[in-house]
C-alpha cells in the first residue's frame, strides 16, 4: 500500500459568514495526480492555500508527509512550504527585476544554496534554456508559466500544487504545460491541480469536485490511462 502524502480530516475554513470550505476529508497518495474542480468561488484556492501552508484552516486536521501542519506557526509553515511544496500559480508570481534563471535561484537560495548550473538545467527541462537571461516581462505567458514550473520544481518538492496553471494560457501553451505535468507524474511526482476547466481536469487520474465549499464528488478518471 502506498503512503499517504496528504490527509485532510474534517477541514473547514470560515471567513466570518462565508464558509469557504466545509468538512473536507480527503487523502492523497504519493505519486497521485489529483485535480480539484469546481466553479469560481467553490473554495478551490482556499483548499490549495491550506495544503500549501499559506493559510491555516479554522477547523480540522491536515497531515502533510506525516506531519500535522494544521497547528504549526507561521515560521514552521514557511519551512515546510519551502522544503516540501512546489507552487505554481495562474498569475505566475515571478519577481519582475530578476532574470529567469535568478527567479529559479531565489527559490534555491531560501531553500539551501543557489546553484546556477542546476537552475539552468531546470530551465532546460521546461524548454527555457535559451531564455535564462531574460526578465519575466520579456517572456510570453506560456514561457512565464514554464519558468514558474521550473522554480516550483527546483528544490525537489514532495508535492506539486498548481492553482489554475493554464488559466492565463492559450491552447498550445496549455498543451505544453500538461505535457510537463505528464512527465513529472511519470517520474513519480505527486501533483494536485486546481482548475475549473474539465479539459485540464481530464489529464488527472482522480478528480475531486467542490461546490460551495463542500466536496461533492471524488472520482477516478477512467479514461485516463494508468501511469
Amino acid at each position: 500500500m502506498s503512503k499517504n502524502i496528504l490527509e485532510l480530516h474534517d477541514v473547514s475554513m470560515i471567513y466570518g459568514p462565508v464558509k469557504a470550505l466545509q468538512n473536507i476529508t480527503l487523502s492523497v497518495q504519493q505519486g497521485e495526480w489529483l485535480a480539484i474542480m469546481g466553479s469560481s468561488g467553490s473554495g478551490k484556492t482556499t483548499m490549495m492555500n491550506i495544503v500549501g501552508c499559506m493559510n491555516k484552516a479554522t477547523h480540522g486536521v491536515v497531515v502533510l508527509d506525516g506531519e500535522k501542519i494544521s497547528r504549526l506557526n507561521a515560521k514552521d509553515l514557511t519551512a515546510i512550504r519551502r522544503d516540501k511544496i512546489g507552487l505554481i500559480f495562474q498569475q505566475f508570481h515571478l519577481i519582475s527585476y530578476l532574470t529567469a534563471v535568478e527567479n529559479v535561484m531565489i527559490a534555491q537560495y531560501y531553500h539551501s544554496l543557489a546553484d546556477e548550473k542546476e537552475a539552468l538545467e531546470a530551465l532546460e527541462r521546461v524548454g527555457l534554456g535559451h531564455r535564462a537571461r531574460h526578465l519575466p516581462r520579456q517572456l510570453s505567458g506560456g514561457e512565464q508559466q514554464r519558468l514558474c514550473i521550473a522554480r516550483a520544481l527546483i528544490n525537489h518538492p514532495k508535492l506539486i500544487l498548481a492553482d489554475e496553471p493554464t488559466g492565463n494560457l492559450d491552447e498550445a501553451n496549455q498543451e505544453t504545460v500538461m505535457n510537463i505535468f505528464h512527465q513529472l507524474h511519470a517520474q513519480g511526482s505527486t501533483i494536485i491541480v486546481v482548475t475549473h476547466s474539465p479539459e485540464v481536469a481530464a489529464h488527472a487520474r482522480r478528480v475531486v469536485h467542490l461546490e460551495y465549499g463542500r466536496m461533492i464528488r471524488d472520482e477516478v478518471n477512467v479514461e485516463c490511462p494508468a501511469a
Binding site: N49, M54, N55, A74, K75, T78, A79, R81, R82, D83, L87, F89, Q90, Q91, H93, L94, I95, S96, Y97, L98, E102, M105, I106, A107, Y109, Y110, H111, L113, A114, D115, E116, R151, N155
Partner: protein, 405 residues
C-alpha cells in the same frame, strides 16, 4: 552562492529608484557632514585653548589702554597691529614681588611683504629677557641675533640663511620657529632695539601716532609677565594695574581669561552644532523610516512572493535592514569624506572666519571622530528600518498575492 545574493536583491531594489536612494543617503550624509565638521572644529578650539597657556609661557600681558583685543588677535591669529607703551613699566615690574619673568615685545604691522602671501607681523623681542619666543626655536641659536638677522615663524617662506626684505632692508633668517598654532607662525622676530630704529626710519612712522612724551629710544607694545607659582595671577594683575594704570595708561589681559573667552564661544558653538546635528539625525531617521515604510507597502507583493518561495520573515527583515544599512553607510561615508576633504582644504580659512587660533587635528582624533560619526550615520539606517520591518512582519504572503489577483 553563485550570482544571486541578498546583496544583489538589495542592489536591484536600490537601483530601481536611484533618485530616492540618493536623497536618503544624502540626508545621512548631511548629518554626518555637520557633526563631523562641528566636532573637529570644536576639538580644534579646545585643543588650541588648552595648549595656549603653555605655548605663550606668560600669565599676564600689559598693553596700552584700549588695546586688549588687539593684542589677543595679534597673538592668537597673527593679525598685524601696532600700539605702544613705555618700557620703563617693565623695569618697575621686575622689582615687584611675584613677577618671575618679565619681557617686552614690540608689534609692528607691516603692509604686504614681498616675501609672503599673508600679511606679516614684525615682532621685536628682547633677547636678554625673552622667555616667550625662544622655546619655539627649531634649532638652538647659541649666539645673539646680529644686527640684520631675524627669526622666522613657521609659515614664513625661506630657509635659514635666506634673505627677506622688510621695510626696504635685506634681513637674513638666522633661525626658524616650530609651528605654534598662534600668530607667531606668521611673524618675523628681531631684536627689539633694531625693530624700533627700523620702524622710526620707515615711511610707516608718521602714520603710527606715537604718543607725545613716549621715549623714542625705549618704547614697546606690550609687557609680558610670568608670575611665580606661589602668586595668584589675578590678584597680582589687579594689584599691578591699580598702581600703574594711571601713570602708564595701561590695561592687562590675563592669558587664562583670554582662553576662557574662547571656551565660552566654543561651548556656544559646540552646543549649536550638536543640537543641529542631533536634529538632522532625527530628521534623517524619520524620513528614512517613512520612506522605508512606504516602500514595504509598495513591495508588498514582492515580499509576499519571496515568502512564498520560502523566505522567512527574518530573511525579509534582513533584506530591508541591510538595504537601510547600505544607505546609511553610503551616506555616512560620503558625509565624513566630504567634511574631511573640505576641512583639509579650507582649514585656514575656517579658522580665520571663526576666529579660532588653530585647527589642525591629529590623525588619531580625525579617525576617532570620523569613526564615531560614521557609526551614528550607519545606525540611522537600521533604526529607521524598524517600522518597516514591523510592517513586514504583518505581510501575509497569501493575502498580499490575493490582493494583486
Amino acid at each position: 552562492m553563485n550570482r544571486l545574493t541578498r546583496f544583489q536583491l538589495i542592489r536591484c531594489n536600490l537601483s530601481r529608484k536611484p533618485a530616492r536612494a540618493c536623497i536618503l543617503a544624502g540626508l545621512v550624509a548631511l548629518f554626518a557632514f555637520t557633526l563631523f565638521c562641528g566636532t573637529i572644529i570644536g576639538q580644534g578650539v579646545s585643543a588650541g585653548t588648552r595648549l595656549m597657556a603653555e605655548r605663550l609661557g606668560a600669565d599676564v600681558l600689559f598693553v596700552p589702554y584700549g588695546y586688549e583685543s588687539e593684542v589677543q588677535s595679534s597673538l592668537l591669529r597673527g593679525e598685524p597691529s601696532s600700539f605702544f607703551m613705555d618700557s620703563a613699566f617693565a623695569a618697575e615690574l621686575r622689582a615687584e614681588a611675584g613677577a618671575e619673568k618679565v619681557t617686552t615685545q614690540l608689534f609692528i604691522a607691516t603692509l604686504k611683504a614681498a616675501c609672503c602671501t599673508l600679511p606679516v607681523q614684525l615682532i621685536g623681542i628682547d633677547p636678554q629677557t625673552d622667555f616667550v619666543v625662544r622655546p619655539w626655536l627649531a634649532d638652538a641659536l647659541r649666539r645673539p641675533l646680529a644686527e640684520n638677522e631675524v627669526l622666522a615663524g613657521s609659515k614664513i617662506v625661506g630657509q635659514v640663511g635666506d634673505e627677506i626684505m622688510l621695510f626696504g632692508k635685506k634681513l637674513t633668517i638666522a633661525a626658524r620657529l616650530d609651528p605654534t598654532g598662534m600668530g607667531f607662525d606668521t611673524s618675523v622676530f628681531m631684536d627689539i632695539g633694531r625693530a624700533r630704529r627700523l620702524l622710526l626710519l620707515s615711511d610707516l612712522a608718521p602714520r603710527l601716532n606715537l604718543p607725545e612724551g613716549l621715549d623714542r629710544n625705549t618704547f614697546v607694545s606690550s609687557t609680558l609677565v610670568k608670575v611665580d607659582p606661589a602668586t595668584d595671577v589675578r590678584s597680582f594683575a589687579n594689584d599691578i594695574s591699580q598702581r600703574y594704570a594711571i601713570p602708564y595708561n595701561l590695561d592687562f589681559v590675563m592669558v587664562a581669561g583670554m582662553l576662557s573667552d574662547i571656551s565660552a564661544r566654543l561651548q556656544a558653538f559646540s552646543a549649536f552644532f550638536y543640537a543641529f546635528s542631533g536634529l538632522l539625525w532625527v530628521l534623517a531617521v524619520i524620513v528614512l523610516a517613512l520612506v522605508f515604510s512606504a516602500s514595504v507597502q509598495e513591495r508588498k507583493k514582492e515580499f509576499g512572493l519571496l515568502r512564498l518561495v520560502g523566505a522567512s520573515r527574518a530573511a525579509l527583515a534582513r533584506v530591508v535592514m541591510q538595504e537601510a544599512l547600505l544607505l546609511g553607510a553610503a551616506g555616512a561615508l560620503l558625509g565624513v569624506a566630504a567634511a574631511g576633504v573640505l576641512m583639509a582644504l579650507f582649514k585656514t580659512y575656517i579658522g580665520v572666519a571663526l576666529e579660532l587660533p588653530s585647527l589642525s587635528p591629529g590623525f588619531a582624533s580625525l579617525a576617532l571622530t570620523g569613526g564615531g560619526v560614521f557609526s551614528l550615520g550607519l545606525l540611522a539606517g537600521p533604526l529607521a528600518s524598524l517600522p518597516a520591518v514591523r510592517k513586514l512582519g504583518r505581510i501575509d504572503a497569501y493575502l498580499a498575492l490575493r490582493e494583486e489577483a
